[in-house]
């Protein structure tokens, strides 16, 4: 911390370990296969030798003298009685044997070839070139050398080496022992190694045959003591025990001249154990198992895959200073805030460095003890720990608070509890985009859950049906500054995906603003005050005085949330039906939103104005007045919405879908007539009167006709139903304002559910030639193929219910399949693109310095700042220009 500059690792060099190096870095030569003696003390020169580190408190490392937390462990080694091959390098060993002469061990290439290939290879730097490229060059060279049957150097006739998987080599049926292989590899001159893609400065081929085996530090393979006092060793230790045991037996057998057969068997056994020690999933050999029958988790398994070291521990790390709990909504919080339960706030701490400027403040803080409250019983932050410059931590308790407050001095650090206004990171998994983790300001609340404004549900994709979220406390000033500038919720209002707002009012907010502004209703003074009491307004809107009483218009009330100087004009959702013609002919003043100087003059505020993704007002405010104003607008708008709804009340229920008797009858009539028409179609088909559509068979033509028929009925019934359900109906209000559901859903409840489908066609599976045994085989009528003529409200009959479930199941399966597939695609995308960055000239480069784009996105524009992908909003600029001129 003194210099302020942190050191960086320059590079990491990979190499093969030579036997000498293994011995050199070893602190102990392990010779006994035992671990602990009867007293539970590590046996010397055993697998738990104290030279390899300590895992038990109280003991000290015999190598470095460190205690449990201080010693990072040291390697030991085992001398193998006979050499064995390393499984990971089998392929390479094979190429070496194939491409070199068995007599003179030179590569089987003529001098001319050697020179020409050498010229090619000398330009390649092994440590930095793409291994695939090196591989393709060396493959060519070794293939050519392997094909030669006579050594061009010594003229010896070559025998073909066959690899008997996984680890045995045979030459004309006779086994080549690892010892012989090693001898051959030893003789290969350094100069020939380039042809095999071996970097002679870091690797020798004979090192791929093991004579000494490193024993990993005890920290790597700690033993666990169960509650029963029984000791359970790590899988690696078990494997090492096997290796040492067999190695010893092999050594004894060899030394006392046992028959060759026994030695070979033991040698193979040793090879098996060493092989499974590296990789317990080697093809061709059964995995080594624990006594319980569980396969052992050895070196390769430890590294590999999702739960392996790389992906589980290195690419993602566990952290302290974090919390996780259930989330719930809190409309009175700003979008920039998060409510943290007191209980969590007492545990989560922020380190505060004590300086001469804050030492008095901190002293006062410590004096209050670990659970202070103010005079109203409200939470205030206390101090949990005091950290001395030497790293010792002192826990603050009520008893020692007074005393400790006097001890601190500049240079010490205290861990202060969470305080209102602290910046924290808040996250919900799956973290699919950067808006899944945003910075919030802390508000300490009672209760047990995290709480936040509903407008922030969209970026997190959160709801409150039991979702949990994570909170991380920032520990460094630098990080805090970055979080505040970059990660704050208000900074993330605009999505980089499409250049529009991703934070906006949802559900009730939209319903409320819709009701508030549609037809511009009138409110009494009292009502208005109630609503506005939810919003911190500067002044009341202009009243309308009728009969001496003050009234306020809905649009004027909504306008209090808008910043002054805002000018917008756009079509509302109510009138979004493409062709420019509003679907429901209404007063133009209801459908076109006009905001002049922060006053809503015409239009209905709905999803297109304040919703996420589409919210045009949020978009405009953000562009014109910045994130602060946009956040403020969302805060006020959501609060006003809640205030309004709490006054007006809003509910929906089954009675929303009540339609008059004659409507029900009409729907029944049209569904009956549809069924009849389908019958007719089938009849026509059966008597071959149907005309096939171009490029389709008769069956398909029939299906298409029927499908279009059922589609028509559904739409018709929807029309009938919605004719009776107007904007006085809560469900219709929600659908039309874009708050929740579509008109289609309403017609399903009130009118008819319609045709069920699987894979885009009518349901056509189940029994032989029929969907359910209630139908005759070969019946392809409407009912037998999943046409549901009931509505959800009237209820489905059992057959309909079954067929509806079939259609519903497809959706569920689809979601399950989709999430996993898209998850993997995103992982690959992220992995492939994570290193790209824009340089000072707006070029896109990767880490090697290759230029991917000469100008990012061909125009160098940030999609987040673009107008939904467009460079500039010319009309807006012209408007600003003219505005400036008139001033």
């Amino acid at each position: 911390m003194t210099s302020g500059i942190s050191k960086r690792i320059n590079k990491i060099q990979f190499a093969l370990l030579s036997p000498d190096e293994i011995r050199k870095m070893s602190q102990v030569k392990v010779i006994t296969a035992d671990t602990y003696d009867d007293d539970g003390y590590p046996i010397e020169r055993g697998l738990m030798d104290l030279h390899m580190g300590v895992i038990e408190p109280g003991l000290k490392c015999a190598t470095c003298g460190g205690k449990v937390d201080e010693c990072h462990g040291h390697f030991g080694h085992v001398e193998l009685a006979m050499p064995v091959v390393h499984v990971g390098f089998i392929k390479e060993i094979k190429t070496f044997l194939d491409a070199t002469c068995k007599e003179c061990s030179r590569i089987k290439l003529t001098e001319d070839q050697i020179n020409s290939f050498k010229a090619k290879l000398s330009t390649v730097d092994f440590s930095s070139t793409d291994p695939e490229v090196i591989g393709s060059i060396t493959k060519k060279v070794t293939d050519e050398a392997s094909a030669r049957a006579v050594c061009p150097h010594c003229g010896a006739q070559q025998k073909k080496v066959i690899l008997d998987k996984p680890t045995t080599f045979r030459e004309e049926g006779i086994k080549v022992t690892p010892k012989e292989i090693r001898e051959r590899l030893e003789r290969i001159p350094n100069d020939d190694l380039v042809f095999f893609g071996l970097n002679s400065s870091v690797a020798r081929p004979e090192w791929m045959i093991l004579t000494a085996l490193p024993v990993p530090p005890i920290n790597v393979r700690p033993s666990i003591t169960l509650e029963t006092g029984e000791r359970s060793e790590d899988d690696l230790t078990h494997k090492l025990v096997d290796i040492i045991r067999i190695s010893q037996r092999l050594r004894e057998s060899r030394d006392n001249g046992s028959p060759q057969l026994i030695i070979e068997d033991l040698w193979d056994l040793l090879q098996f154990h060493v092989t499974t020690y590296f990789d317990n999933q080697t093809a061709g050999i059964p995995p080594a198992r624990h006594r319980s029958g569980r396969a052992l988790r050895t070196l390769v398994q430890r590294l590999k895959g999702k739960d392996g070291r790389f992906r589980s521990n290195l690419s993602g790390k566990r952290v302290n200073f974090s919390a996780r709990t259930v989330i719930s909504p809190e409309p009175f919080l700003s979008i920039n805030e998060v409510g943290v339960p007191e209980k969590a706030a007492r545990e989560l701490t922020v380190p505060v460095s004590i300086t001469i400027f804050n030492v008095e403040n901190v002293r006062n803080l410590i004096k209050l003890g670990p659970e202070p409250r103010d005079e109203f019983g409200k939470y205030t932050a206390g101090v949990n720990y005091i950290i001395r410059p030497d790293g010792r931590r002192i826990k603050v308790t009520i008893q020692n608070a007074e005393e400790n407050s006097k001890r601190i001095e500049p240079g010490w650090i205290v861990e202060r509890q969470l305080m209102e206004g602290d910046i924290v990171l808040f996250n919900r998994q799956p973290s699919l985009h950067r808006m899944s983790m945003m910075a919030h300001n802390v508000r300490i609340l009672s209760g047990q859950t995290f709480r936040f404004n509903l407008a922030v549900c969209t970026p997190y994709n959160a709801d409150f049906d039991g979702d949990e979220m994570n909170l991380h406390i920032i520990q460094k000033e630098e990080a805090r500054a970055e979080a505040k500038i970059i990660m704050r919720v208000q900074e993330q209002i605009m999505s980089p995906r499409f250049g529009g707002p991703i934070i906006g009012g949802i559900h009730d907010h939209i319903t409320a603003t819709f009701l508030l502004t549609h037809l511009n209703p009138r409110f009494t003074y009292e009502e208005t005050v109630h609503m506005l009491s939810y919003v911190d307004v500067e002044k009341m809107p202009e009243p309308e005085i009728i009969d001496g009483k003050k009234y306020f218009r809905g649009r004027d009330i909504f306008s209090v949330t808008l910043p002054e100087g805002l000018y917008v004009k756009f079509k509302s959702k109510l009138c979004s039906s493409a062709k420019g013609q509003c679907e429901y002919e209404e007063d133009i003043r209801d459908t076109f939103v006009t905001i002049e100087n922060g006053k809503l003059t015409t239009g209905t505020i709905d999803e297109a104005s304040v919703g996420p993704f589409s919210g045009e007002i949020i978009n405009k405010i953000f562009r014109r007045f910045g994130q602060e104003a946009a956040a403020k607008f969302i805060d006020r708008m959501t609060r006003l919405a809640v205030g309004f709804l709490s006054m007006r009340g809003f509910t929906t229920g089954i009675s929303d879908y009540d339609i008059p008797e004659n409507a029900v009858n009409r729907i029944r009539e049209i569904s009956e007539s549809a069924i009849q028409r389908i019958e007719k179609l089938i009849e026509a088909y059966n008597s071959n009167l149907i005309q096939a559509l171009p490029g389709r068979s008769l069956e398909e033509t029939l299906e298409i006709e029927i499908l279009s028929e059922t589609g028509k009925v559904r739409d018709e019934s929807g029309k009938i139903a919605s004719a009776y359900l107007g904007l006085t109906n809560s469900s219709v209000i929600m659908a039309r304002s874009g708050a929740r559901a579509k008109m289609l859903n309403i017609s399903e409840v009130a009118g008819m559910v319609g045709q069920q489908s699987v894979r885009g066609g009518r349901i056509n599976r189940g029994y032989n030639q029929r969907t359910l045994s209630h139908f005759k085989p070969g019946d392809i009528g409407a009912n037998a193929r999943g046409f549901v003529k009931s509505s959800y409200k009237s209820g489905l009959n059992p057959l309909e219910y079954f067929l509806h479930s079939i259609g519903g199941r497809e959706g569920l399966v689809d979601i399950a399949v989709r999430t996993s597939r898209s998850g993997y695609m995103q992982r690959r995308l992220i992995n492939a693109f994570e290193d790209l960055k824009v340089d000072e000239d707006r070029r896109v480069e990767d880490t090697i310095g290759s230029v991917i784009q000469l100008k990012y996105g061909e125009d160098g524009i940030d999609p987040t700042r673009s107008e939904r992908g467009e460079l500039v909003d010319i009309d807006d600029l012209i408007f600003n220009l003219q505005e400036a001129e008139t001033e």
Binding site: S315, L829, Y856, L871
Partner: protein, 510 residues
């Protein structure tokens, strides 16, 4: 332009190269048309040399003539041999493509109508060009799309505002520029990956035909990103030349020409075990539908080896009798005949011409793709046809076309699903997949597998392979990327991590 094409030996070419003028005696009589050029091939497919033909005269025994053989008819005077690179498909013989080069042939060179296209500047509306020039005066390269908009508004806003507007646009663009060191790759990946969960997985029928499915939604997006060799539903959209595009007849003809027709499509194949014959009984209706002539079939059948063929045009039957009398052979012949291609292009299983609107042009949709061959068809507009097979585009048209194909296909897929994703993200994906010159997949076989960092590769997939190989090669990891720095626990090199800032506090002055 007419030209003579022939295949020649390397030896003769060497001779030709050495001399300036050569008289060349050939067993071939050129037509009367003026012939100025000749093309020489060594392999019968690619033409390596172009030669000017000075004159053609009837053959007379002359000592100064190269190439002596029997049956010589005329003498060509060849001048000025120079290397070219032409493909056999550039030539036409009696209006048809030359399938195989047999001796000397007279061919029409299909000249690419290289009308000098207007330069980009010329294409721009003069009003817009003025705007661009004005912006240039303020040392600002205005993007064209903005200039167009400004030009349209210029009269409306007046000259004074116009100048200010340009300034304003310039300022606006600077403000909207991407921040240096921004991790654009991650943003692009997230922007494409995040909506993936909202996509459907169904395939859709297309162009109203059962066999013509097109993969859409998430599976298609994955396919694009994977850079699959062959997409699961390859298909082409073929436009006809502007002057022919409204003709139903032409459209139908092209459809028949490209649609791969096998014997089974137009005939029944009957195997007579008694006589040991295979007979092809042609169905007239089917033949008419597919525009197949009897002679087409009998010509195609000739490809079957070691059989005696007896065609009978009246009964529309062709009987094949294997020369070798065995059931095994009979079976082989039967199987071979069934799948024998009569006409059409390989790979195109089905083609359908449709009118997009009432008076609109005909557009041909196909199942299966064969870009190279379809492009060569006379009636087809080679500038407008597309295929959804990105790798094929890369092979036929090159990497730039493939890059655009990746972009177009991914954008279309997302748009079809109603998902809004900024085009810059898709461009970055397309560029990243293609900038090395070949299409690379997103994943361990492509981009991720070729990363420079060992640790990054190990952390992605196939961990052990990369670690072991790193040891042999003595690879060094210079820790420049994101994944490897996370692994060793250092700040990453993107965004704020790529800037070093040192605060030197005020020194206490004593």
């Amino acid at each position: 332009m007419k030209a003579i094409v022939w295949k020649d030996t390397k030896k003769n070419i060497d001779m030709l190269l050495k001399k300036h003028q050569v008289k060349y005696a050939v067993d071939f009589a050129p037509s009367n048309a003026k012939i100025e050029k000749g093309y020489i091939s060594t392999d019968g497919i690619n033409f390596q040399f172009e030669v000017a033909i000075g004159s053609v005269s009837p053959f007379k025994d002359d000592a100064d003539v190269l190439k002596k053989k029997t049956g010589l008819i005329s003498v060509l005077t060849l001048e000025e041999l120079r290397p070219v690179n032409r493909h056999i498909s550039d030539f036409r013989f009696n209006g048809k493509k030359i399938a195989k080069l047999t001796g000397f042939m007279e061919g029409e060179i299909k000249e690419l109508d290289l009308v000098p296209s207007a330069t980009i500047e010329e294409k721009i509306d003069p009003e817009v060009r003025k705007v661009l020039a004005d912006a240039k005066k303020m040392s600002f390269d205005m993007p064209l799309s903005i200039a167009v908009k400004i030009a349209a508004k210029r009269a409306e806003i007046g000259e004074k505002s116009y100048k200010k507007l340009i300034k304003l646009v310039q300022e606006d663009l600077v403000r909207k520029a991407i921040d240096p060191y921004e991790a654009v790759g991650i943003i692009a990946a997230q922007s494409i990956g995040e909506p993936g969960t909202q996509m459907t997985m169904r395939t859709f029928h297309f162009a109203g035909v059962r066999e013509m499915n097109v993969t859409l939604g998430l599976p298609r997006l994955i396919e694009i990103v994977d850079a699959r060799r062959i997409p699961s539903t390859p298909s082409m959209t073929i436009y006809l030349r502007k002057d022919l595009e409204k003709s139903e007849e032409v459209a139908r003809r092209v459809v028949k020409e490209i649609e791969n027709t096998t014997v089974l499509d137009v005939a029944d194949v009957i195997t007579d075990v008694n006589d040991l014959t295979v007979s092809i009984k042609l169905d007239k209706a089917k033949m008419e539908e597919r525009l197949v002539e009897f002679s087409d079939v009998s010509f195609a059948v000739e490809k079957v080896r070691q059989v005696n063929i007896t065609p009978d045009e009246k009964t529309r039957t062709i009987v094949l009798k294997p020369q070798q009398e065995s059931f095994k052979k009979l079976y082989q012949v039967q199987e071979q005949v069934k799948v024998l291609t009569i006409k059409g292009l390989t790979g195109i299983k089905r083609a359908i011409a449709r009118k997009e609107s009432q008076d609109g042009p005909y557009v041909i949709y196909t199942q299966g793709s064969n870009l190279r061959m379809v492009m060569d068809i006379e009636e087809v507009d080679p500038y407008r046809i597309t295929t959804n097979d990105i790798i094929e585009i890369s092979n036929v048209l090159g990497i730039e076309a493939a890059r655009n194909a990746i972009y177009n296909e991914s954008e279309r897929t997302l748009q079809e699903q109603g998902l809004e994703v900024d085009r810059r993200h898709l461009m970055l994906v397309a560029d990243m997949m293609s900038f090395t010159g070949s299409v690379r997949a997103v994943g361990r076989t492509g981009i991720s597998g070729r990363k420079s960092s060992v640790l990054a590769r190990a952390a992605f997939e196939i961990t052990t392979k990369h670690l072991l190989r790193a040891g042999l090669l003595g690879e060094t990891d210079s820790l420049t990327g994101v994944a490897e720095n996370i692994i060793v626990g250092q700040p990453i090199t993107l965004g704020t991590g790529s800037v070093n800032l040192v605060y030197r506090g005020n020194r206490k002055s004593d």
